[in-house]
Amino acid sequence: GGGGGTTATEEPAGGASSPASGLKVGLAFDVGGRGDKSFNDAAYAGLEKAKTDLGAEIKELSPAADGSNRGDLLRQLADAGYNPIIGVGFAYAEDVKAAATEYPDIEFAIVDSASSAPNVTGLLFAEEQGSYLAGVAAAAKSEAGHVGFVGGVENDLIRKFEAGFDAGVKSVKPDAKIDVTYLTPDGDFSGFQAPDKGKIAAEKMFQDGADIVYHAAGDSGLGVFQAAAAAGKKAIGVDSDQRQTVTETNLQSVIMTSMLKRVDVGVFEFIKAFQGGAKGGQDVTYDLKVDGVGLATTGGEIDDIKDQLDKAKQDIVNGTIKVPSQPES
Amino acid sequence: MSADTLATARPAVELEGITKRFPGVVANHDIRITVRPGTVHAIVGENGAGKSTLMKILYGMQRPDEGTIKVNGEQVSFRTPSDAIAAGIGMVHQHFMLADNFTVLENIVLGAEPRKGLNLDTGAARRRITDLAAAHGLRVDPDRLVEDLGVGDRQRVEILKVLYRGARILILDEPTAVLVPQEVEELFQNLRELKSEGLTVIFISHKLDEVLDIADDITVIRRGTTVASVDPREVTARRLAELMVGSELPTPETRESTVTDKVALKVAGLTMEADGHRPVPKGTSITAYVDKLRQDGRRLLLDDVSFEIHKGEILGIAGVEGNGQSELIEAIMGIRQAHGDVELDGRDISSWSTLKRRESGIGYIPEDRHRQGLLLEASLWENRVLGHQTRKPAKNGPWVDRKAAKADTERIIGEYDVRTPGVDTLALALSGGNQQKLIVGREMSGEPSFLIAAHPTRGVDVGAQAAIWDHLRNARAAGLAVLLISADLDELIGLSDTIQVIYRGRLVAALDPSDITPERLGGYMTGAIAGTEEE
């Protein structure tokens, strides 16, 4: 993953922060906004950390349901004196690019998309690498040699998850069977909000003999967990440590692990770097090397294959293994 | 017994000082009527005199602004029809109040359903209806859908509805308007029977001979107020009419024949299938195909209808409603598909669109002005354009010529005496008669060579009626061919040069209006007299 640019290794000088730092950080969520207990909330966690640790004044905005005003939110933040400004989600790519040219003195960051201007920092995540580890874990734990993947919306971000997962599974069990279902086509975002459909898709996989299903389907993942619980099988969560965020106890136990995507880290590190005087124009890739992605270990279900996972991780960090970011089809 | 005699002494209904105002209209003003029990009491009056309004007040559908109502001596105040029903009053409305997609039984029991537990007790209802029907000689099949019934049957259903609720006082608002004489006679038979059982009937009609035939008392209403109470034995139809309108009755007499030998419209073998039009298969002649349809027992709405209308001739079509008149009109207008040929001035127009037919000189006064003739929520001048949107003066290239259309509407308003504040008034603000005059004026413009006039004076008061008849006669004299369809047999006989009777989609008799009575005509219309061609 991740083209040019550096990885987030360099620590900006002067970690300590002054309370009244004069730092005003603006953040614009993706459609769905705050409270998705996942991607957007992770970004907010990073922002909040900046507030407590760096003394930043923060403002976060959610777009209209149709996402038509993403660009305007960025502009309104800029006009209100916020700097830096972060757009959460690849859907902001065009808007951040435009806003960055309109406001060359303000620093922008975009999550999940590459830098497009000198004052834009791309915060990229190597989902395929994390998903690769999820695939390794799934394959290692699968007794049937049959696993599944449920994607919410068939867009290229989610296909990245699929690609990594696929490669990870194949690396352990080359002839393993992998069922893949996407709930809705690209452009129809209801696939992230349809737990019933997630359940039906996962049910089918379990009925066909899969014993572990990985999801990248937002709220629809809940259905995947339910199907797993009903079938007495396992599931893998996504983005945050879902074994902790899911409140139903019967569902917690089916979540074998979760593929973590540390958007909070990305957001916080960006703000910190900005405070330290860093400039944009480059991408920062949060990959396995910097623990920007990884697997959650809550519940201890993958402790027994820790060595295998560590090895895979090492190979990826070394570059021995190149994880594809698009599934072969 | 003494209680009985007391009851007979007390009036069934007493209306005192009833006044009802609508925006801009006083529908009823200080009306006083006393109805004796066990009698048929007729209320007559011209259109808009306030008869229906008064009855709706008595039936609880409208509330009077002033005045009192007494039923069987008790003062009452009805808020809804249910109150009136509870007081033993039933009403048959001027327009049928039936749900087409319901069975007869469902229509009758609605609102007064017998129950078995939670269920609707259809068994009990059916028994009760059959009993009632037998007792009063009202034949109906409780399980038929109302949409399949003819007008006579529907009328009986309406009366049964009222009887079913145990009404002792029946209001019949113009029940005979859609009936042929034989059906009227049958209805009167029923009414006399009801009367003999002690029921009270309030009967509304414009048809004075009928009123004189059935009524025990007559009240005349003019302009919303009672002008006279008369005894039918002491009054003539002419005197009644004068009381109603304060003028003489007009007659629809056409003077001398203006029929020419030039055929304006020729219809040959017109046949329409009931269950959707199917094209005639290739290589089959129409007659062979229609024969096949008949053999198969398919219902035909129009069955081999042929006739000619000459310039200057009025051809009247007589028939009970629902025997194919509407279909005939729609086939000639090209609104519905049919087999057979239609020729206008020698040109075959069978395959033409409605628009092209209108453009080539067919005018059309529809039977239901609100449904087919007007855009109620549009202005008068826009209504003038309707049907003439592709012709001068309404059109100017792709544009609607508003100026010319308005000017021409002014002309119609003048020539046809349409009472309106102006051409921008919405059509719905006009009274029915004025709306009808506007339609007649519109259809006469553009010099049509052939006019379809369906019930041209239905629901129109005497003054307007006479005016419309004059216009038709003048146009006929100028060479217009007219196809006249009317339920008013006097109008039909008076205006037509020839009368054809339509029965079950077939033309069954051609009659000479000069020597036919309404009664005989009714015989043909109901199929009682078999069709012999007399000429």
Binding site: P63, D72, Q76, E102, D156, P185, G187 | P398, A429
Partner: protein, 374 residues
């Protein structure tokens, strides 16, 4: 005509009352949420502190109003003849992707390039609307269901096209998919100079004030002329007011259904173009959806008349624009949707009430004048 003026004034009064009531309802909600309705009200009028922010806000307002206006027009044509084209949503999506793709495949002088794109959009939108029209006239399929189904089908087809046959090149790691970018000659020139007339700064936002506004205005005027002054418009009105009278008057109902539906679809085809030609230059995953449904509300609010639709579109755009400012004032932005819903409901209720009042007045007037003359 004083009668017409009377009616117009009454309508206006009704609308104002409705809007005031809607604001009151929302104030209650805001208070319940622990907010201050006055803050909310100021947020709606908060166009930014700097001149530049104000210019941008105004541009945003109009840029939002333009597609809403076109959507309202598209919906209104069907509604005027009681034809419920719920399928505007699908029609504009399909049209936008096809137009964006076709526009990217060639380079021609700007007027030609843009004209071709517009024509393609209208043709595709019209053709897609032709499907339910034909289904209705030949098989009697209810257009409401047919267009609802076709909306879902359109989402799938456009997803397939944008990822498959119509996909443009992408930078490595770019996650959005879109059609290839339009050449510069395909971008509609902006209207930023207009701001100069009012002594304002030109907006700096991407695309500025979209030039498509001009097309929308022209469209509105043309449509008004077509609907109010031509034979076709008369036929539409007649079919809408009284189907059977229109039929008897020689208006071919099947042809009218097809014509109205296709015209509605063709206009729907334009809904996506302001965005494509104004800023994005392509159809992609972030293409604004849902305008077809909002168009229904806008059309109904505008009583299916171009001028009314323009007002309604501006009102909706005005409310939508406050999405950001409301959040700055710590007020849940969902009050916007509530206001919009309440306004639609109350305005039509007010319409209904004033309409009846006006009719009654007219009848009374007619009756009075007759009495004078008689």
């Amino acid at each position: 005509m004083p009668a017409g003026l009377n009616r117009a004034l009454l309508t206006l009064a009704g609308a104002v009352v409705a809007i005031v009531l809607a604001i009151a309802v929302c104030s209650v909600a805001i208070v319940a949420a622990g907010g201050d309705p006055l803050h909310a009200l100021t947020a709606f009028f908060d166009f930014g502190a700097s001149e530049r922010a104000q210019s941008n806000s105004v541009a945003t307002l109009f840029n939002r109003a333009v597609p809403l206006f076109i959507a309202g027009l598209a919906v209104a044509i069907g509604f005027r003849m009681n034809l419920f084209n719920i399928g505007v949503e699908g029609q504009y999506r399909i049209a936008a992707i096809c137009a964006a793709y076709v526009g990217s495949t060639f380079v021609a002088p700007a007027p030609i390039q843009i004209a071709v794109i517009i024509v393609v959009a209208m043709v595709v939108g019209g053709l897609y609307a032709l499907i339910p029209a034909i289904m209705k006239v030949t098989r009697g399929v209810n257009e409401v269901i047919a267009t609802i189904m076709l909306n879902y089908i359109a989402i799938n087809i456009s997803a397939y096209l944008v990822r498959g046959p119509f996909a443009g090149a992408r930078a490595e790691g770019e996650l959005t998919v879109s059609t290839p970018p339009l050449p510069d000659s395909g971008m509609f020139p902006d209207l930023n100079f207009v701001f100069g007339w009012f002594g304002m700064l030109a907006p700096t936002r991407e695309g500025g004030l979209w030039g498509f506004l001009v097309v929308a205005i022209v469209l509105g005027v043309v449509l008004w002329v077509v609907l109010e002054r031509t034979r076709f418009g008369f036929d539409v009105k007649a079919s809408g007011l009284n189907q059977s009278a229109a039929l008897a008057a020689g208006v071919n109902p099947k042809r009218m259904v097809i014509a109205a539906m296709v015209l509605s679809g063709a206009i729907a085809g334009l809904i996506g173009l302001p965005e494509v030609l104004g800023s994005t230059g392509s159809f992609g995953t972030t293409f604004t959806s849902g305008l077809g449904f909002l168009g229904i509300a806008v059309a109904l609010l505008g009583r299916n008349k171009p001028a009314g639709i323009a007002v309604a579109a501006l009102l909706f755009a005005f409310l939508d624009r406050a999405q950001g400012p409301l959040q700055f004032a710590n007020i849940p932005p969902s009050v916007i949707e509530i206001i919009q819903g309440v306004i639609v409901l109350l305005v039509v209720v007010a319409n209904e009430v004033t309409n009846r009042f006006a009719l009654r007045l007219e009848e009374r007037r007619a009756a009075r004048q007759l009495k004078v003359t008689a």
